[in-house]
């Protein structure tokens, strides 16, 4: 009889010690000349400074970026080598669209829970200012053919196929789903129509996001969660003077005739990075750091949006009830809800879906609807609409902010929910 060798110790609780991010900046503003690596290094070094991790060998660093150059194949490791952490800390890249940051945290947390590592950092960075531009596909194929050719003559013959026009038609990154050609905003517009989400409700949610973010800055909530970068101390998407009138004045961005999504109630392209420090309770005690909260579990779901049977950003609607059922919890057991606001409409579609008896029965297989989420508990310190959404950095931002909110409250339980490209949804439970 063979002995099964994957034999973990009893699982341990995973402590969230803290987090760090740089202020998020709208695309092509303050961080216009920073690469993903520059941003990630800034966030990670800030964490190292705050928790005095200089020279320490951690269990691992897992991080990623959604919009990525091919040269960044080892983004997390290369970033780590630019910090004062021990260069003997292993690292790897994770990429799961906008779920990257949270998925990275779940991966690190699982290793801690299983006793494989004691401490690790998870994170993510994204820049749409320093986006990769590929060379023209025909030019690329021609150059590859020349590279394959043997001998100078054949190489030159292959290169003769290069046409000047190839240099003027580069391959630009697209903000669209590869399989549908529709931008995320267009997909969300379809969802808003399907769920009949009103413009006013979207603008109200947006306003709340800005106001709560401004209030959180005001009371110093982010003081130990953010390191300034390039002279920026707070997210430059934040409009403290936002009003319903101003939001109402914006024209629809994706469907000029009958759309309700605008540049105001959708997140802008944003540059930024965030990281979270996770550890075993023993490590936390040994180093004298209080535990903000524990990362209890996570659940990922995916929906078929390709044939139109489900909205692109609806996967969290499926992930959350599965996770709640597994953990024996209901919405009443939660004190905080951190719902990523890619678009105000997407949040409202998800909330409406959870309240809809027919949808909950037919799509989610639930006997009764999940019910309503108390708005006073949702995104209490602002959300992506206020601070912006650098894709892979959003999960780390939410996880650290939620853990701190639970800690400030003296305990409690929170839910994180993130929708992502490709019909993905990543969710997690944090508690203390």
């Amino acid at each position: 009889m063979s002995h099964y060798s994957f034999n973990p110790a009893p699982t341990r609780r995973v402590a969230i010690i803290g987090g760090n991010r740089i202020p998020f900046a709208r695309s092509n503003t303050v961080y216009a000349h920073d690469s993903n690596q520059d941003l990630l290094v800034a966030a990670l070094q800030g964490l190292v400074d705050r928790y005095n991790l200089h020279g320490q060998r951690l269990g691992e660093f897992a991080a990623g970026a959604v919009i990525k150059h091919s040269r960044d194949f080892n983004l997390a490791r290369e970033s780590l080598l630019s910090t004062t952490l021990s260069p003997e800390t292993p690292a790897y890249d994770v990429q799961q669209a906008c779920g990257t940051g949270l998925e990275a945290a779940l991966l690190v947390a699982n290793k801690i829970a299983l006793g494989q590592i004691e401490v690790g950092v998870a994170g993510g960075a994204d820049t749409t200012s320093d986006a990769p531009i590929g060379i023209n596909e025909s030019l690329r194929h021609t150059l590859l053919a020349a590279n394959r050719a043997k001998g100078l003559g054949d190489k030159l013959k292959a290169l003769l196929k290069v046409r000047p026009s190839m240099f003027f038609k580069p391959l630009l990154p697209r903000n669209g789903e590869p399989r549908t050609g529709l931008s995320m905003g267009e997909h969300c517009e379809e969802m808003a129509k399907r769920w009949q989400i009103k413009r006013l409700a979207q603008d109200e949610l947006t306003l709340t996001s800005h106001q709560r973010l401004a209030a959180a800055y005001q009371r110093g909530f982010f003081d130990d969660l953010i390191s300034p970068h390039r002279g920026l101390a707070r997210d430059n998407n934040l409009r403290a003077d936002a009003s319903l009138e101003k939001l109402a004045g914006l024209s629809p961005a994706y469907d000029r005739q009958s759309g309700t999504l605008t540049a105001g109630n959708s997140t802008p392209l944003t540059d930024g990075a965030s990281v979270v420090l996770l550890a075993s309770e023993a490590w936390a005690a040994e180093h004298g750091w209080p535990v903000l909260a524990y990362l209890r579990t996570g659940e990922t779901a995916a929906v078929n949006f390709v044939d139109g049977s489900e909205g692109l950003l609806m996967a969290p609607a499926y992930a959350v009830p599965r996770m709640l059922q597994r953990e024996g919890l209901s919405f009443a057991d939660f004190d905080f809800f951190e719902i990523h606001e890619a678009f105000a409409a997407q949040v409202l579609c998800t909330l409406k879906a959870w309240e809809d008896p027919v949808y909950c029965r037919e799509r989610l297989g639930l006997a009764a609807p999940l019910g309503a989420i108390e708005r006073a508990k949702m995104n209490v310190n602002g959300g992506s609409l206020g601070c912006g959404h650098p894709f892979a950095a959003t999960g780390g931002r939410q996880l650290a902010a939620l853990a701190k909110a639970i800690h400030e409250r003296g305990g409690g339980r929170g839910l994180i929910s993130i929708c992502a490209a490709g019909g993905l949804g990543i969710t997690a439970i944090v508690e203390k």
Binding site: R179, T180, G181, N304, D307, G308, S309
Partner: protein
């Protein structure tokens, strides 16, 4: 039937087809009812080659895991359609024939490397409100069995008192409940790219000047490209066993342009779809795809 079976081997060259097309631009005025061409054009063994399928797939957006595209044998048979339409005995100029509708049925799985016997013949005249239409039949056999068949409806506009029984009823689709699921940006050179894989160098698809000669402001997308693109978006991975697609070509798509695919989530073997303009209020193509349903 006194069918005249003509073996076509090798296939006609591009030059030959173009020259025949030019020669067929002028036709003598018809005296009485048109005569149906009697020839049955046959290519005894056409290979479903991996390279051919790949090139066609790239042009239309099919992926390798989708197997042989349902529309691919049509492309292999298309030069025979042109030969039929450009024959001296055919009463109308080939380049003025408008492709109105198409129906394809596949009876068994097609494999890369398989050889098909292709037969193309004029099936019958079809009376159409806008003129004289003609149905061209394409039949594909493998080891003696009919594996794939296509029926293409072409129209010569403005012919008074057309002859023949009418075509099938218009497709009944739940147009109002379709939702937009894809958006396609069509480049200006789409027609030229598709011509390289379809062999149809009709100038209305490949050049602005050519298109203007025939009354279009710009080059227009090839209807069979639009159908191929729509199937590429909807054919499941793993290839098809039995399948049928019926389609009607509506407004032409001017190039470059942006169009969208509208359909319903697949619920059962049948799937209605439309390709519409950017605003979503006018159809370019209407179709019904049935997969693995028992076909008559």
């Amino acid at each position: 039937m006194d069918d005249l079976t003509q073996i076509i081997d090798p296939p006609p060259s591009r030059t030959r087809l173009l020259l025949d097309g030019v020669r067929a631009l002028r036709k003598p005025k018809l005296d009485g009812a048109p005569l149906l061409p009697k020839a049955r054009l046959v290519r005894p063994a056409v290979e479903l080659s991996a390279e051919g399928i790949a090139a066609y797939g790239r042009a239309c957006g099919f992926r390798r895991e989708q197997g042989v595209p349902l529309t691919y044998p049509h492309v292999l048979a298309f030069p025979l359609h042109l030969m039929l339409l450009t024959r001296p005995s055919f009463p109308y100029p080939a380049s003025g024939m408008v492709h109105l509708a198409n129906r394809i049925r596949q009876h068994q799985r097609l494999q890369e490397g398989q050889a098909l016997r292709l037969e193309v013949y004029a099936a019958r005249w079809v009376a159409h409100p806008k003129g004289q239409a003609l149905s061209i039949a394409t039949r594909a056999y493998s080891a003696g069995a009919l594996v794939w068949e296509g029926d293409s409806l072409y129209l010569r506009r403005g012919v008074a008192d057309p002859v023949g029984a009418p075509w099938d009823e218009a497709l009944a689709l739940p147009s109002d409940s379709l939702v937009r699921t894809q958006k396609w940006l069509l480049p200006a050179d789409l027609g030229r790219r598709f011509a390289k894989v379809s062999g149809d160098f009709n100038p209305i698809h490949t050049s602005v000047i050519g298109a203007r000669l025939f009354g279009f402001r710009r080059a227009i997308a090839h209807g069979m490209w639009t159908l191929g693109r729509a199937l590429a978006a909807q054919q499941p991975p793993g290839g098809l066993e039995r399948a049928e697609v019926q389609c009607e070509f509506k407004l032409p798509i001017l190039l470059p342009g942006q169009v969208a695919l509208w359909n319903l989530p697949a619920s059962g073997p049948r799937r209605a779809f439309e390709v519409r303009n950017g605003a979503g209020d006018k159809p370019h193509l209407r179709g019904l795809l049935s997969i693995n349903e028992n076909l008559q």
